[in-house]
């Protein structure tokens, strides 16, 4: 039900948008709200599942289930989607106005945003790996078009291509992993697979492939580079796809397949390493960025690093914590993205360095995004506090090293969040801000409010996360999150985080050089550069290969003869040749045949060095006429007769065509030296040799069975005929003749087309 609403929303909004460009946003938002309500209602009333055959030949099922994990992500997709759509209804017209584009261009924007929402809901609910893949790629398609929304801008185009390449190509790995699991266990269904898979190399390989797809989608190192580039999209898109939804799809996949993944320690370790790296790289780079959306993008990389680490840590705290983290992060991060958009819209500046002190002119926004920032930084009284609490608890289970890592990561978050919010709203800079529409502020406030609400009543949020975590673990999870005013390790770690975070903020001069160096190193030798080099390299390689392409008919022919000959040779090599070839005997009756064959060969050879065209035509026809003689000696008078006649007509046509071309042209051509370069002789020899091989091998081994021709001979009287050949042509195999004369007629049609514009007369 929610899925139906969600999937319907995109075409509905597009249809409305086509009628009235302004209608797309409200209709989309209404559908969004409806889908949100349906999901909530559906989940509250105990979930619900659809499981029907999709493609029985391959055991594909349309298996969708609104379980905890699905509900969490579906609510996020529709809820944040609603906020973003409301925001866009004001933002997008402004955006289009800046670019002198018609309002109607916005329709496709809404179409793809809603398509994205629909596929995200579907992805959340899908329980079949192929179905997951379908929705997975649908989100990639929607994202591709949204990033490339400003398609006139080369940067947008390149970014869209990059996002598509990274997420699309890695998605294929998901497919391969799914197929591997299917080949081993005979099902694509995730619940069934969860019951069947055993730890082992197969699971590790397949799981690794699937995990790579998930990690790339969640912008984890080393695939993280596409996300900052994807910021070329309009801000609402960044707020939605690239903080709350598209990137969340990656960890959703991890959560969905967690029952499989957790059976392999290798996989969990990989998650830990990749997650930690992303956390660190994203965090540090976020500290170096000046452009607002870039900062947020790297922060997202880092934040999903946390989630991945939590899945890697595993256990109840890991699984539930990851889900909770995704939920809170989505609320906070989309609020921050939207704030960035509003600020840029109001001031015209998208860099920290050009901003500051905006709390005076935009107090409401400052509060709203302040709460969201506090949530991200895990301050108490926000839902964010609990996300870190669960994270710390999960890390503690694993040991002090991870606890330290967790504190370090959280401190980085604290630092760059402070940098972001403080940089915009505090300070003394005198950035000017226009009055902004309330529509650009309210969604931020609402999202901030939700964060705050979660800090006070954590129950519903945690309940959702618990349900989702239980689905990942395939076992009921029991985790509590509450404020404890005591000195338990989690609280101490939180305090340490704040302290370390403040220290990082204050010690900026100390580390900014090092961080900048890391950033530059990343630019010079990082994966993004590798991607760029790879793409350019491919294009260059392609150019080079193209220059080597055969462009001349002669080389084209040679390129067929040579490999053909090699294949024929290989064929002979791989088969036993002993006793295959026979020389045959020459009997007295064959003498005339032999005498006729020799001139044929001579005539054929003569054509290769005849200069004048007319002579060439005559030599050719003489070869034809002698061949007719050969046919006669073979006991084939019909063939001989037709060969003679055909040869006559062909010679006439040949001479006629020669007559069409001025003598000088022909003479010049004939005067050119016959190219007897050894290469040509070689190719011709290869062709002759392969023909020889095929023909000799064949002629040596006539069929031992009775030929069907005997049947033809016997039945000729039944066809009321005396000549078996004529009977075959007109009756037994009349269809061949019908085809043959059709070719003749076709040639006439073609010749008339070429010479007479297709006129029959």
């Amino acid at each position: 039900m929610p899925l139906v609403v969600a999937l319907l929303s995109a075409p509905a909004a597009a249809a409305f948008g086509m009628l009235r460009p302004a209608g797309a946003a409200p209709v989309g938002a209404a559908f969004c709200a409806l889908a949100f309500g349906a999901t909530l209602w559906g989940f509250a009333s105990g979930g619900g599942a659809v499981d029907v055959a999709w493609a029985p030949s391959w055991d594909l099922r349309l298996h969708l289930e609104l379980d905890g994990l699905a509900a969490l992500y579906a609510l996020l997709a529709t809820g944040v989607g609603f906020a973003v759509l409301v925001y866009s209804s004001r933002y997008l017209p402004l955006h289009l106005e800046h670019q002198d584009r018609p309002l109607s261009d916005g329709t496709s924007f809404y179409f793809f945003v809603l398509l994205f929402m629909g596929s995200m809901v579907g992805l959340a609910m899908a329980q079949d790996l192929i179905l997951v893949f379908v929705f997975w790629d649908l989100t990639a398609i929607a994202s591709y078009y949204l990033i490339g929304f400003d398609s006139h801008d080369p940067d947008s185009r390149a970014s869209a291509l990059m996002a598509l390449l990274v997420t699309g190509v890695t998605a294929v790995l998901l497919l391969i992993g799914a197929v591997m699991l299917y080949a081993a266990h005979g099902t694509f269904s995730i619940p069934e697979l969860a019951g069947r898979v055993e730890p082992g190399p197969l699971l590790t390989t397949a799981g690794l492939l699937i995990a790579v797809a998930g990690l790339a989608k969640s912008a984890q190192v080393p695939f993280h580079f596409w996300l900052p580039r994807a910021m070329a999209a309009p801000t609402p898109v960044s707020a939605y796809l690239h903080s709350a939804a598209m990137v969340a799809a990656g960890v959703l996949l991890l959560g969905r397949l967690y029952p499989l993944l957790q059976k392999s320690d290798v996989l969990l370790d990989v998650l830990l390493v990749v997650g930690s790296l992303s956390m660190a790289v994203g965090g540090v780079l976020a500290l170096t960025r000046d452009v607002l959306k870039q900062l947020l993008a790297y922060s997202t990389v880092s934040q999903y690093g946390y989630v991945v680490v939590m899945y890697g840590l595993g256990g109840e705290y890991g699984a539930v914590g990851a889900s909770f983290y995704v939920l809170v992060h989505a609320l906070c991060k989309s609020a921050l993205f939207l704030s960035a958009g509003t600020v840029t819209e109001a001031t015209g500046s998208d860099r920290l360095s050009g901003l500051g002190g905006l709390y005076r002119s935009m107090p409401l926004l400052a509060v709203g995004s302040g709460v969201a920032a506090a949530g991200l930084a895990a301050l108490p009284l926000t839902a964010g506090f609990f996300k870190d609490e669960l994270f710390f608890a999960a890390a503690l289970e694993r040991g002090p090293v991870f606890a330290g890592l967790a504190v370090f990561g959280a401190a980085l978050t604290f630092a760059y969040t402070w940098r972001f919010w403080g940089g915009i709203f505090l300070g003394t800079s005198d950035a000017e801000a226009d009055r902004t529409s309330g529509v650009l502020v309210l969604p931020v406030v609402a999202l901030g409010g939700l964060t705050l609400l979660g800090g006070i009543f954590v129950g519903p949020y945690l309940g959702l996360a618990l349900a989702a975590g239980s689905d990942s673990l395939r076992a009921p999870a029991d985790v509590v999150a509450a404020y404890h005013l005591d000195a338990r390790p989690e609280n101490l770690m939180a305090l340490a985080t704040y302290g370390l975070g403040v220290a990082i903020v204050l010690s900026r001069p100390l580390w900014s050089g090092a961080a900048g160096a890391l950033s530059r190193l990343g630019e010079r030798a990082g994966p993004e550069r590798l991607y760029g080099m790879g793409l350019r390299g491919l294009n260059g390689l392609s150019d080079r290969a193209h220059r080597a392409e055969a462009r001349d008919l002669r080389s084209r022919v040679a390129a067929i003869l040579l490999p053909g000959g090699i294949l024929a040779g290989a064929g002979i090599l791989v088969t036993p040749t002993g006793g295959t070839y026979r020389v045959g005997t020459v009997e007295a009756g064959d003498i005339p045949l032999l005498l006729a064959l020799v001139p044929v060969a001579v005539a054929a050879l003569t054509t290769t060095f005849t200069k004048r065209h007319v002579t060439l035509a005559l030599v050719l026809s003489s070869a034809g006429f002698v061949l007719a003689l050969v046919y006669a000696f073979f006991g084939a008078p019909d063939v001989a007769l037709v060969a003679v006649l055909v040869e006559t007509v062909l010679t006439l046509l040949f001479l006629g065509t020669l007559r069409l071309i001025p003598y000088e042209v022909l003479h010049r051509q004939a005067g050119l030296p016959t190219e007897k370069r050894p290469r040509k002789v070689f190719f011709a020899a290869v062709a002759g040799a392969s023909t020889f091989a095929v023909v000799w091998a064949t002629l040596s081994r006539p069929a031992p069975e009775r030929s069907v021709a005997e049947e033809h001979l016997k039945r000729t009287p039944e066809a009321h005929a005396g000549d078996a050949v004529t009977a075959i042509l007109a009756d037994f195999r009349g269809l061949d003749t019908l085809g043959e004369i059709s070719v003749v007629a076709l040639v006439l049609l073609a010749v008339l087309t070429l010479l007479r514009g297709g006129r029959l007369r």
């Binding site: 193209h546 081994r701 009775r706 037994f732 059709s742 087309t753």
Partner: protein, 460 residues
Amino acid sequence: MTGAALLPLSVLVPWVLAASLALADGRRPLVAWVSVVGIGAGFACVMGLTFAVLRGGPVEMVAGGWPEGVGITLRADALGVTFAAVSVGVILASLVYEVLGGVRSRTFPALVAFMAAGLTGLFLTGDAFNFYVFFEISMTAAYALTGYREKDYQVRAAFIFAVINLLGSVIFLIAVAALYHVTGTLDMEVMARRAAGVQPSSIISIAVAVLVAFSLKLGLFPFHFWLPAVYVGSHPPVAAILSGALANIGGYGLLRFGADVLPRELELGTAAVLVLGTASIIYGALQAISRQETAEVLAYSAIGQAGYILVAIGIGGPVAYAAAVVYAVVNSLNKALLFLAAGGRGRLVGAAFAVGAFSVVGVPPAAGFVAKLAMFRASVEAGSVALTALIFLGGALSFVYAFQIYQRIYWTPEDGKRKAGPLPARILVGLLAVLILAAGLWPEPLLVLGEAAAGVLEGR
């Protein structure tokens, strides 16, 4: 109507149509629409036949009412009808497209009808020599069609096409005659039975000739050098026909003569087939990447896509053969859509091209993903890591070329010179795209066809 009635009609309807159209001036709208209706009727027959075959098994008819073997057997099995249906469908769509835009040659509709007749005959005949004859009908029609519109480069393309493919035809003819000599029959079913008893060294050379002839047709590396010039040179609907319908001969021929008639030799040549296939996949995709002209990208893409079909044939077994059929069908539709879309402009056409591009790279919900899935199933079940990796690599490269060219055409400011083309033609392209989406969203019919066709090959 029953299958027995539909079988001859499927071939004869376009054939009679072709002969009649030759007498009329195809540029007149009336004549052009008559050709559309006629090919549509032929298509309906083939579709009816397809259903009949899927429901009731193969349909046979011996021409002339003679016993089997004496006369020529028309045999419609799942493999043949699948290819026939797709090819005629592509021809119909391309013809409609051209008719909507205005036919410019008297003979165009007749040539297209001849092509349809030749192709249906070729896919539905059970006789090796008859196959050659139908092959020649469709090839001759193709030579003439390549020159359609008669610009210099089109005539040039037609000449290259004709010379190279005549070479291929002769090689194939030699193979057919050789098969007759070593088996004493032309009926492919009997031939398949008898071929097993022939001296391996004799028949392997014949198998090589068959492989070369059809690889040439399919445009596999290194037999592909004619292909870009021809696809780039010909008029878009003609290119759609050539790559979407005519090229099916290659895939079908390899399946029919390789997997069906000469399975032992195919197995022996697995290595060669796989090398040719993967080389085509990589080479075609690599060449396509930096090409500027859409038709050229599509031409090289066709080489790469043909490679997948060959790889599937090389892997062998029911899953792989089904994959080959599914891939060939989807590839036909993709190529038809892309070539037709490349001829037009505008938002609808852009969307259609995008659907085609997503289908080529195998992104759902476009049908291409079903084909890719089939390929991966085949390669994974064969247990070959290298093949899976190469297929993956080919797919990754196809992402690059498909979307580089897509962005270049549809995402850059339109240069104004481009005309959007008539609305009905654009709608037609849109419908093709919808068809491809539908086949991806509900892949069951495609899979059933593929499995039924593979069943034909395994049933022997």
